[in-house]
């Protein structure tokens, strides 16, 4: 009887043990993903930081822009800075700051927000006043006079936090990394909005 009872107990616990085992497996699988995502975030921000350092170094060679500037001073400073950066990054190409694995990671992050409870509203917000199919070039000026897409707070919260003067923007379904101080498209990735 004892043996039988033991077997019964063991059989009764089997689903629970199996569930625990599965859960442990999930956790074990999830953990590397989280670590991998964290590593991708670090890799991405490292590239952005290198850009920011270059930006600062080049800006330091220019006469400082007055804190209370005239439009002419603002325009001259922005254009001079953009010219220096464009020249220094002469070989820059799409994907330099958004390598493939980073792109996949960012798509996952954006996708998780869009699949959430406010997903439909967020998608609508991203498409509102979205300039759409405008031609973009990496390491070139953001088209003058083109409105900028509003970035919903949940999307910004899900993406790696950028340094000052660097912003995420959407143009169509492309995620743009914008140097808002120099008015430059640092890089962009396509298909950033999952269907």
């Amino acid at each position: 009887m004892i043996t039988v009872r033991r077997i019964t107990v063991s059989l009764g616990l089997a689903p629970l043990l199996a569930a625990v085992s599965l859960l442990a497996g999930d956790i074990a699988q999830e953990k590397p993903r989280v670590n991998a995502d964290a590593a991708l975030s670090v890799e991405f921000l490292k590239g952005v930081q290198a850009y920011v350092e270059l930006h600062k170094k080049l800006e330091a060679t220019l006469p400082p822009r007055p804190e209370h500037a005239t439009p002419a001073e603002i325009g001259a400073h922005e254009q001079a800075l953009a010219k220096l950066i464009i020249s220094a990054r002469g070989r820059a190409k799409q994907g330099d700051l958004f390598p493939q694995k980073v792109r996949a990671y960012l798509r996952r992050q954006i996708g998780s927000v869009l699949r959430g409870p406010d997903g439909a509203v967020i998608r609508r917000s991203l498409m509102e006043d979205n300039p759409g199919k405008v031609q973009l070039r990496c390491n070139a000026r953001y088209p003058e006079g083109l409105p900028i897409t509003t970035m919903p707070a949940p999307v910004l919260s899900a993406l790696p936090k950028l340094p000052e003067h660097v912003e995420y923007r959407f143009v169509g379904d492309r995620l743009v990394l914008l140097d808002s101080h120099a008015g430059l498209v640092m890089d962009y990735m396509t298909d950033a909005l999952p269907q």
């Binding site: 603002i74 406010d118 509203v121 917000s125 006079g145 509003t150 707070a153 910004l156 936090k161 808002s180």
Partner: protein, 310 residues
């Protein structure tokens, strides 16, 4: 029209006396009328209903204006007339300060020239940015942003602090900053202003529910009584929402005629027939306001009582 209290616990009384919709297309265009009319000094005074007290804080609100077109200039002239009668010290902008190009000549054409009378009279502009504005505007001396896209400042009179937000980019850093600043503010009046309206009956955009979700709890928690926004190219005063009165003043240049959704159920007064801006006066616990149209009519007027801590 008396607006009933929506939330008695908040002890807010909004006695918004809405002037009946006086809008209508003038028989003569304002530009022609201005040319035919005698000089401003000799013109009949505007029918403002503000107390115009000596020690009050007087300010204006305008939004979505930087078109460089005739209507913007005509409203600019009207602002000058209002100022000669009601000398407001500062003007806050709720974004879309310059549409299209943002070159030095655009700043002249779309800002400095239409508001020359105000600038010459020493009115200080405190801008916030909209989705059509280059971030570089934050360095423009006449916008008094000191290079920041979001900032706060204490008004020169009365116990008032303004909070200019960059609603286009409400990242965690800005939201943390806002909460810290609201928490630290000891002023009676805390007035946030920004581009995207939390409540709007504008048919083009409407209420921004995502921003409402993150901003409204902070406004409620820290005793905000009134909020100014734009984006929808109409003028609207919204019935108090949980005790807070929201204004949409996206009507100061780029008007979207007739673009009002009458079904939202929260409009206290709306006008999309001609350009308009708002002037207000804070005296102790009261904020008096007049919305003035391009043809010099007071299209909305009233007084808002400050929300007090329970």
């Amino acid at each position: 029209m008396l607006i009933p209290r929506r939330h008695p616990a908040l002890a807010l009384i909004v006695c918004a006396v809405s002037v009946a919709c006086l809008s209508g297309t003038p028989a003569v265009s304002p530009a022609l009328a201005a040319r035919q009319a005698p000089p401003a000094a000799a013109q009949a005074p505007l029918p403002l209903t503000l107390p115009n007290r000596e020690d009050a804080l007087k300010f204006g609100v305008m939004g979505d204006f930087g078109t460089g077109k005739r209507e913007q200039y005509e409203l600019g002239e009207e602002m000058g007339r209002v100022h000669s009668q009601f000398p407001f010290q500062l003007m806050i902008t709720v974004g879309d300060n310059l549409y299209g190009g943002q070159s030095p000549s655009d700043f002249v054409k779309k800002f400095e020239t239409p508001y020359k009378a105000l600038l010459s009279a020493g009115v200080k502009f405190y801008a916030s940015l909209g989705n059509h504005d280059s971030r570089q505007q934050s360095a423009y001396a006449l916008f008094n942003m000191d290079g920041r896209t979001y900032y706060t400042f204490k008004a020169p009179k009365q116990d008032v602090r303004f909070f200019a937000l960059y609603s286009d980019y409400l990242d965690p850093a800005q939201l943390q900053w806002l909460e810290r600043e609201l928490q630290n503010s000891r002023e009676d009046w805390k007035i946030p202003y920004f581009h995207h309206p939390l409540y709007s009956s504008g048919d083009r955009h409407g209420s921004d529910l995502l921003k409402r979700k993150v901003l409204e709890p902070l406004f409620l928690k820290y005793g905000v009584s009134v909020v100014f926004a734009g984006h929808d190219h109409v003028y609207e005063r919204v019935m108090p929402q949980q005790g807070i009165t929201h204004f949409v003043v996206g009507s100061s240049g780029q008007l979207r005629k007739g673009n009002i959704d009458k079904g939202t159920g929260f409009t206290a007064y709306a006008n999309a027939t001609e350009q308009a801006f708002l002037v207000a006066e804070i005296s102790d616990d009261q904020l008096f306001f007049n919305a003035v149209s391009r043809s010099g009519k007071v299209i909305d007027a009233g007084v808002i009582e400050r929300r007090k801590p329970e």
